[in-house]
């Protein structure tokens, strides 16, 4: 018998949802000392599985049939008191976003101490000793300082280490990790994954690891369960599922994971369309009442985007890549340096600038006005430049066709579209202005991997047909490998390495580039 067994568990969604059951006859088993990865795209029910195991189903969700057994003990239908005694002590959880999972008004030490205070009757000196030991075990650089620190004083990776220390504090039998590394940078992600692996092996904890990223699965999983629409479509040992998937959905998901191999260089016309010379941008200028230190988001950045090419800007959070995008389109003023588009600085007039550079935004839900028809949002730009309403709308319909949407969809509102479709609308809106340069700021980061592949394919196709020049901002080297001709690696506002993507990936010159490449999860598996 396994340690944790989920037997034909079905969970109902509230009436009016897109399907009746969030989980449909889900059966999973977890043994001590093993890591089971539950993979799936958004809406597959993987997070609902996690919250059902820990008894924290969102309001409106209810178990309709099936059972969850922990070491032979039935969990479904327990009293709230029994659940409370169980949580933290026998089943613990690590959440996706460590900033919101920690209380910003309590020190880290006080929050960890709560674990022992709630579940044991140790005295406060023992609790402090235990807290310190727990933080030492998750390899925080200064455990004693961390005890006194508030969550905002730690970095994202350190916060997630604190969360792991808290989850493991009472030596639970089962640890549930719900996308614990999704909010982290790639190098931090690699460290946290290694930490979870090491702790789990040392203690023999059973880990249920929820993720959408097959790279992470390849790094950490012993066994894999693939979920689609609330159903487990395939499960088995990680090596088998990853290299010999049997279910078509698993095959499709694996095929959608982009390879980390740069495409062969394309033939491009000579000449550059966008040039950055010594661009500098500082946040928080020093003044009498400013306590914050000035941060150099961009430090003398020199870049060149070739005509018809895609220049990828990669880096971790805080590297200045999004600031760069906003400076190029003129949403942020620069402190020093020149940004030249087709040899000219960006004009001050909004209308004049609109035809030169356009932007595709990261969040498909925030980048469209929820209260206006999508066709109007695409057509209003050309109309502001003097195109007649009828012609602008006809162009918008044509653009919808071009980006793979129904032309008649122009009359609908944003909430009627999925994330990927919204991103297509955002691309259509940018293309409607016929820009010389398209700036794409993490355009596929918020999308599921299969949708990501479709949008990248669309961008590639559009580039071939329209000769677009693109500045492509991303944190994901796999995505960069799919679409970029040249690449610039940024760290702390400085471009540390540039060059054709094939050369940079094959022979990185800068140490930071090498560490980024090494940290890409599942590199060994998906290299081929």
């Amino acid at each position: 018998m396994s340690l944790l067994e989920i037997r034909e568990l079905s969970v109902a969604l509230p009436a009016g949802a897109d399907r009746a059951l969030a989980l449909d006859q889900v059966s999973l088993a977890l043994d001590p000392g093993e890591i089971l990865c539950v993979v799936g795209e958004s809406g597959s029910g993987k997070s609902v599985t996690a919250s059902a195991i820990i008894g924290l189903l969102a309001p409106g969700l209810a178990v309709v049939s099936g059972q969850i057994m922990l070491a032979g003990e039935a969990l479904v239908g327990q009293s709230p008191e029994a659940w409370r005694a169980l949580r933290g002590r026998r089943i613990a959880m690590v959440f996706q976003e460590p900033m919101t999972a920690l209380n910003p008004l309590m020190t880290v030490g006080a929050q960890i101490a709560e674990m022992w205070r709630a579940h044991t009757d140790l005295n406060s000196r023992d609790i402090t000793a235990h807290s310190l030991a727990a933080l030492t075990e998750v390899a925080l650089p200064d455990p004693e300082g961390a005890l006194r620190a508030y969550p905002h004083e730690l970095s994202g990776g350190q916060r997630q280490r604190v969360m792991i220390a808290m989850a493991l504090a009472l030596e639970p039998e089962v640890l549930i990790c719900d996308e614990p590394t999704t909010a982290l940078d790639v190098t931090t992600q690699a460290q946290v994954l290694a930490l979870i692996r090491a702790l789990q092996q040392r203690r023999g904890t059973a880990v249920l690891f929820i993720t959408h990223d097959f790279g992470v699965v390849a790094e950490i999983a012993d066994r894999v369960a693939v979920m689609q629409q609330g159903v487990v479509v395939e499960q088995g040992p990680a090596a088998t599922v990853l290299s010999h998937p049997t279910h078509p959905y698993t095959k499709a998901l694996l095929a959608a994971v982009p390879a980390l191999i740069a495409p062969p260089p394309r033939e491009l016309a000579a000449g550059s369309v966008l040039t950055l010379r010594g661009v500098t941008k500082t946040y928080g200028s020093p003044g009498m009442f400013r306590r914050r230190k000035a941060v150099k988001a961009l430090d003398a950045v020199d870049l060149t985007l070739r005509q018809g090419a895609t220049l990828g800007v990669v880096g971790e959070s805080g590297s200045g890549k999004s600031t760069l995008a906003r400076c190029v389109v003129g949403l942020l003023p620069v402190d020093a340096g020149d940004i030249l588009i087709a040899g000219e600085p960006l004009p001050h007039g909004r209308c004049a600038a609109a035809g030169l550079v356009q932007m595709v935004f990261q969040d498909p839900f925030a980048s469209l006005n929820p209260r206006r028809r999508v066709g109007d949002q695409v057509a209003q730009g050309p109309m502001a430049l003097g195109t007649s309403a009828a012609q602008a709308m006809a162009e918008a319909r044509a653009l919808f066709g071009l980006v793979g949407l129904e032309p008649d969809a122009v009359a609908r509102f944003p909430h009627e579209f999925s994330g990927g479709q919204r991103q297509r609308i955002g691309i259509a809106r940018a293309l409607a202005m016929k820009p010389r340069v398209l700036v794409a700021d993490e355009p596929v980061s918020a999308l599921d991997v299969s949708v990501q592949a479709q949008v990248l394919e669309l961008l590639r196709g559009l580039q071939a047909r329209l000769g677009l020049s693109m500045l492509f901002i991303t944190h994901d080297l796999r995505v960069a490998a799919q679409i970029c001709d040249d690449i610039a690696v940024m760290q702390n506002g400085v471009v540390v390495e540039t060059g054709p993507i094939g050369e940079v990936f094959a022979a990185p010159r800068h140490a930071y580039t090498r560490s980024l490449l090494d940290a890409v999860p599942g590199r060994a598996l998906f290299a081929a």
Partner: protein, 276 residues
Amino acid sequence: MQFLRAYARNPAALIGAALVLAVLAMGLLAPLLYPGDPLSLAGRPLQWPGANPRFPLGTDPSGRDIAAQLFHGARVSLLIGFSATAIAVVIGIGIGALAGFYGGIVDTLLMRVTEAFQTLPNFLLLLVLVAVFGSDIKTVTIAIGIVAWPPVARLTRAEFLSLRTRDFVQACRLQGLSDAHLILREVLPNALPPVIVYASVVMAIAILLESALAFLQLSDPNVSSWGNLIGLGRNVLRAEWYVSAIPGIAILLTILGVSLVGQGLNDALNPRLAGR
């Protein structure tokens, strides 16, 4: 449609709507049920309600029909409520939108003006305005609008501050659209729901302010407002309390109705908060 359904699911909101509609019906029916001037003398003064079948709600100290004044007063109270609210909301949205959208020096200047208005007690400012400009019904309405706008401006500014940096607004900037378009077409429709909800509060305040002015006999004496009637009953409060109590209950029910409608709007416009 979805909005109406969300609204109709809330029983308190339906009661509020019924109350407001009832007051509206009173105002509409007033000229049919009580033709002629409600302020004309109708019979012996201070008849108790029910004492004389001609005056179901009795007569006031001057011998005027209280029922007639109540029905005609509904028109005045609603008219003042709606007009003063419209004035306050228009001024508030205008100032709040400019301050929130442009920020910087514009924001600083407009917000200092708003705070100057807010630090003065509403009612005192209203008294000063009425004392200076006179107390006919138009002046009173405008004066109420002028004292009630600052909270609307602050609310609108807060919404604009958070909305102006959203990606969809930035995208419109990049499309070359004018500031007027950004403010009116992109940001304002998204900023409006909390302002609409707050407008119901402004309306309740406006009706109360007018009644308070009338109670002090500083409102327009030539219209039959509920507040005037309460003011008339002040001198006979101990013996013939019904003169003040009847319009008082009318004001209470109207404000209750308006507030419940506001609460219902709030729940219907913020579906995620409903049901808590």
